[in-house]
Amino acid sequence: MRLVVDLNRCQGYAQCAFLAPDVFAMHGDESLLYNPNADPEQREDVLRAVAACPVQAILLEITDEDMAKMAAPQAVAGAGSASGGAR
């Protein structure tokens, strides 16, 4: 998954770091560091972070390649998590 954070807009509220700690981390009090190429397995967490960011600073793209990688586990768990509110 590709992601970029508009750090002009980011206010360092750390919601993302709380919801997806493997992808976002605070560096010092206010600086946000993130992995611009997060593992598709982090999808649910990252989607939650995207939704929770109070200034909508996170842009996420789930590529076809990511979808292919996720296809196998999703065949089992996908239906349930989709109805659980994934967008």
Partner: protein, 462 residues
């Protein structure tokens, strides 16, 4: 001129974008969002699809991300003909044609130029080519430098303490590497933020164990017999032994390919009007060639219509959006690029953010927090008005200051804040270096003059 030509352009026109990076990509997305259904060609000399550069001096050097994994997420599909790994080498404005390095020619109805900047190389080409000498602008640079740092060099020398140089030094310290920073100015970041803030930055370097040398120049690099850099000689007579040298001396605009084309392009960038339309060499604005991002130089109503060149991520995004909008609009529907300059930097664990144009400021006042704690907000004043603000670990206040700057609030500010300390009682000289003496890496350059304010209301002189 509503003669249907715009509809025709939108339906089956040809748009060419030269420079396939942040500005080029975001512009292309906006064009498609606006219903452009014609052919779109993206020309980029790097062999990679658009990627993000800011992580290269931060996450990538810290080892938290990989240089070849910073591809930019897409807002939408752009259905473009990508011509990557091939540079544009010429422009024929009369025939509306872009010439490519492989001999191909691409015709356009509208052209967007977003060729950005490149790292200023070490002035001595032979020394610059030594093994262990780096610049940092591209993905390949980032990967090479990160590999060199991972090998555990005994010492790294960073030449130039602008934002990028300071971030590199910070990453080195976090990796436990010894690092020397040589800066020609009196302090890090002076060109961008002035001497008062520069002194705070110098404190951050030293407290974090950087061997900071200011007011000096590196005069030459020395190699061992195998062609690896081993030492640098400084203007004060000293020598620094280093296995890795990072040249961080600012940027040069990628405009050479336009030489002789008749477009108003040169070492300071491509001049354009507030609607992103490029000027030709006669100073007449073109109607089919647009510019966006680091390569552009455009007048800003909020700052006296001075021509600003901004090497800022947010500017590339905002200007690309405006350029794309205007390329596909009737003249009365066009928008000016009125984005208030803003950037961020992360170094030594401190979040530095700014809005406005600090180098225009003649005075500075600490409005919140304290310099000593490195948690503060400061505003810059110019002719009695607030022109810029900077925060260190205090970014939540920045939107407030931005709004003040936009509404041309007075300086010194009349409000008193709850958390102001003794630093901030009165304005100090902002202490920017003499503009005729170059420093390393100011991120804003100014030229031109004409008074007005953002709301475009006429304010008679007092």
């Amino acid at each position: 001129m509503r003669d249907g030509s715009l509809e025709h352009l939108k339906r089956e026109g040809r748009i060419v974008v030269v420079g396939a990076s942040l500005a080029g990509l975001r512009a292309a997305e906006t064009m498609r969002e606006k219903g452009f259904a014609g052919s779109l060609t993206m020309i980029g000399d790097e062999p990679y699809e658009p990627y993000d550069r800011p992580p290269l001096s931060k996450q990538v050097l810290l080892g938290n991300a990989v240089a070849d994994h910073t591809a930019l997420p897409r807002r939408r599909a752009i259905d473009a003909d990508w011509r990557l790994g091939v540079p544009a080498t010429g422009l024929d404005m009369a025939a509306r044609r872009v010439r490519l390095g492989n001999g191909d020619e691409v015709e356009y109805d509208r052209l967007l130029i977003a060729t950005g900047v490149r790292a200023r190389p070490w002035p001595n080409a032979e020394e610059g080519a030594l093994q262990g000498v780096f610049v940092l602008r591209t993905r390949d640079d980032g990967e090479g430098l990160q590999r060199a740092l991972a090998a555990g060099p005994r010492r790294v020398l960073v030449i130039g303490a602008g934002f990028t140089g300071s971030e590199i030094a910070s990453a080195c310290r976090e990796r436990g590497l010894d690092v020397t920073v040589a800066e020609r100015g009196e302090a890090p970041l002076v060109g961008a933020l002035g001497g008062v803030i520069g002194e705070v930055a110098a404190g951050m370097h030293r407290e974090n164990g950087v061997d900071l040398r200011t007011g000096v120049m590196v005069t030459s690099l020395e190699s061992d017999p195998s062609g690896r850099v081993r030492a640098a000689h400084l203007s004060d007579g000293s020598t620094v032994e280093a296995e890795v040298v990072v040249v961080s001396l600012g940027a040069q605009r990628n405009t050479e390919w336009l030489a002789g084309s008749g477009l108003g392009a040169g070492p300071r960038g491509i001049a354009c009007d507030a609607g992103c339309r490029a000027f030709d060499v006669r100073g007449i604005v073109t109607d089919d060639i647009y510019v966006a991002g680091d390569v552009a130089r455009s007048p800003h109503a909020l700052f006296g219509y001075q021509f600003l060149s901004l090497e800022h991520w947010g500017n590339a995004v905002a200007q690309a959006d405006t350029a794309a909008h205007n390329m596909l609009s009737e003249s009365t529907d066009r928008r000016p690029h009125l984005w208030v300059p803003a950037f961020w930097s992360s170094q030594f664990g401190v979040n530095i953010k700014s809005v406005g144009v600090p180098p225009m400021g003649t005075e500075i006042m600490i409005t919140q927090g304290s310099l000593a704690e490195r948690r503060f907000a400061a505003v810059y004043g110019y002719q009695g008005r607030m022109i810029a603000a900077v925060t260190f670990d205090n970014c939540r206040w920045l939107p407030f200051y931005e709004q003040q700057i936009e509404s041309t609030a007075p300086f010194p500010p009349p409000f008193s804040t709850v958390d102001r300390r003794s630093d901030g009682i009165k304005p100090l000289p902002a202490d920017f270096p003499d503009p005729s003496v170059p420093t390393h890496g100011p991120t804003i350059t100014l030229s031109g003059y004409s008074p007005a304010d953002r709301k475009m209301t006429f304010t008679p002189g007092r």
